[in-house]
Amino acid sequence: MNSGISPPIGIVDASYALPGQAVDIVDWAAEQQVAPGLLERLLANGCRYFHIGTDRSDADLIGEAITHLRGGETDWLADVRYLIHAHTEAFSMPPPPVSVLGQLCDRFDLRLDLSFSVGHVACAAVINAVDWARRLLDRDPSARYALVVTADRVFGEAKHRIRQDAGIQSDGGSAILVGRESLRARIGTVSVKNFARLHEGPNNPQNVAAISRYTWLHTKQLFQAHEADSGIPLHAHGAVLPINADREYWLQIAKAVALREDKLFLDNIALRGHACCADFAVNLVDRGFELLDGGDPVLLCGQSNVGAYAAMTLLPDRSAVTTLATEAAA
């Protein structure tokens, strides 16, 4: 468990790329011959729109997200010293030994001090990656930016896009620029916890049962520990931004930790689908930044079906007030 308020290192900007037009699950389920009962349960669990991008590579998805950062400007890329990639889907990578990091270096002519990918902790990987970005910048005052990128693509059709009956998987990429100036959020407490017993993932009915029995308990424990470490009561956050699936599960957790349901941001389960590690940036851009701009902290969390969990508090950037005042005076 890592904890403590960091020096003023935070998120400069974030963006995402969900490919193509949103697909309506109702139309898609008919094409894919999804059982009507299953479709009904998906709809009842809040699923509706999602994104398919099977014609794009991981580098394409990340590349698109990068070009959305900072209003489309690209000068800042010359100041990126660290590139950290995170992914959930094991297949979301070029054939080994080829590397998506190398593909991105070539595409954007990056000059890096260090790059790596965080894997095998599923949707908790993105928070681990942002935390590594923070640590690396913290140790290297000469470095201006660390860039966190994610890409996840689903292989196979309905069977692999539908998560039991409570989630629909999107293909998607994201980019999160971490720095120490012009911050849209400061990085606060980070909690990472693994319950390694679930390391095999949902590969057989016994493990699926174990995951469904334990994950809500593990997430509840993570939230309670995170609340204690950060000193910020869960209800004092503008919102908790979970992954974009499993509505009932999040409602159960909210009940278990005495969090009002309306503090959970669940809109994107219907609007975006679950794009694995990209959900962090999707929810930050769609909801988190607005709350942070209004002065509220937000809590992002990544849970997984391999027993890895992570939570990160983002704090409003106090210096933003000063910056705005300075700009107004100028």
Partner: protein, 351 residues
């Protein structure tokens, strides 16, 4: 930077004959790569339905069809813990690297290692996307992670090559199925088999598909990248130390086992003395575990010589990622199953 390595194990799969350029056919994961989305995750030169591409028969460490890459990693970690019993409870971090897929695509190797061996570990990560050359980056991160901590970290690397990925690129590389592991700390006062004093990593643009490009083109580009990276590591190290602290002419060097005497060419270009692997295995690349294999070769050489030595160990991948480490090798390292352990009484509670 100072990272102490207290024990090391390198565990290649058993030798086996193989007559395909591609890895072992394992159908459980294979079909995913032939979905539409798979076109970006498999070599474009391997058509749907193809699980073998003829190659004259060769011998290499190749795992049986019932073995997983996570098995190779967990087994190697177990050997390290056999070498230094009583240490598992002190391990607080698990770091693993692999560049290949595990055939059970939903599972997690780093969490498997945590589960199998280290109930007290607080973090577990798998590093990837650096070709087979992730270990220098892993060590650089670890130095940061462990600084000021009285903690041990389990470091492991494993790969198992399955079709449709290429096991062999003729005249360049033949990848083995290997697991390797070591126990590392940032402690300076404890016995160690080797101490990493500096690490440098670099990236150089390479042909997009190594199996399609002329092997000489990749080989020459890799050679330049390794020489530049290692040269810069040594220049920095010499600047950081008094000239008497490190005599470049006495430095040893070892690195990846690419074809056509690649490691010897690196050593010649740098003017350093190469330490070779077992002659029968000189052109079998140990995949992501390669750096630990080279380190094991260096330790054997230094133990035979009876005197502590400084050495450079490098690794490089056709992904374009290269890295090198300056390492003090201790001559009092003791032989352990599949590797080495620090000089101490077996069962000593502190490494």
């Amino acid at each position: 930077m100072s990272l102490a390595i207290h024990a090391l194990a390198v565990c290649p799969a058993a030798q086996s004959d193989h007559a395909s350029l591609l890895g072992t056919p394992l159908t459980s994961a294979y079909h995913h790569l032939y979905d539409e989305a798979g076109m970006f995750s498999r070599p474009a030169t391997v058509r749907r339905g193809v699980t073998r591409m003829y190659a004259p028969e060769y011998r290499a460490p190749i795992a049986g069809k019932d073995v997983r890459s996570t098995d190779l990693a967990s087994h190697a970690v177990a050997r390290v813990l056999d070498a230094l019993p009583g240490q598992a409870a002190r391990v607080s971090h698990v770091m693993h690297t692999q560049c290949t897929l595990d055939r059970q695509i939903l599972g997690s190797t780093c969490l498997r290692i945590q589960h199998d061996h280290f109930p007290n570990a607080g973090s577990a990560l798998t590093l990837g996307q650096l070709g087979t050359a992730a270990l220098p980056t892993l060590f650089a991160l670890l130095a940061d992670h462990l600084e000021g901590e009285n903690a041990l970290c389990s470091v492991s690397a494993s790969d198992l090559w399955m079709a449709p990925f290429y096991r062999r690129i003729p005249n360049l590389v033949t990848y083995a199925d290997v697991g390797a592991a070591c126990l590392v700390s940032a402690e300076t006062g404890r016995p160690a088999i080797a101490r990493i004093k500096a690490v440098r990593t670099a990236y150089r643009r390479m042909p997009a598909e190594p199996w399609s490009a002329p092997s000489a083109e990749i080989s020459n580009a890799l050679l330049d990248a390794v020489v530049d990276c290692t040269g810069a590591l040594l220049d920095d190290a010499l600047l950081a130390q008094s000239s008497s602290a490190m005599d470049r002419t006495s430095l040893l060097i070892a690195g990846d086992r690419y074809a056509d005497g690649f490691a010897e060419r690196v050593a010649r270009r740098l003017g350093l003395r190469s330490v070779s692997a077992d002659p029968d295995q000189q052109e079998i690349h140990l995949s992501s575990a390669s750096m630990l294999g080279s380190l094991s070769d260096l330790i054997r050489h230094v133990v035979d010589g009876g005197q502590d030595r400084d050495a450079v160990v490098w690794t490089a991948s056709p992904s374009g990622h290269v890295g090198a480490a300056l390492v003090r090798i201790h001559a009092d390292a003791q032989v352990a199953p599949n590797g080495w352990r620090s000089a101490q009484t077996q069962g000593d509670a502190s490494p």
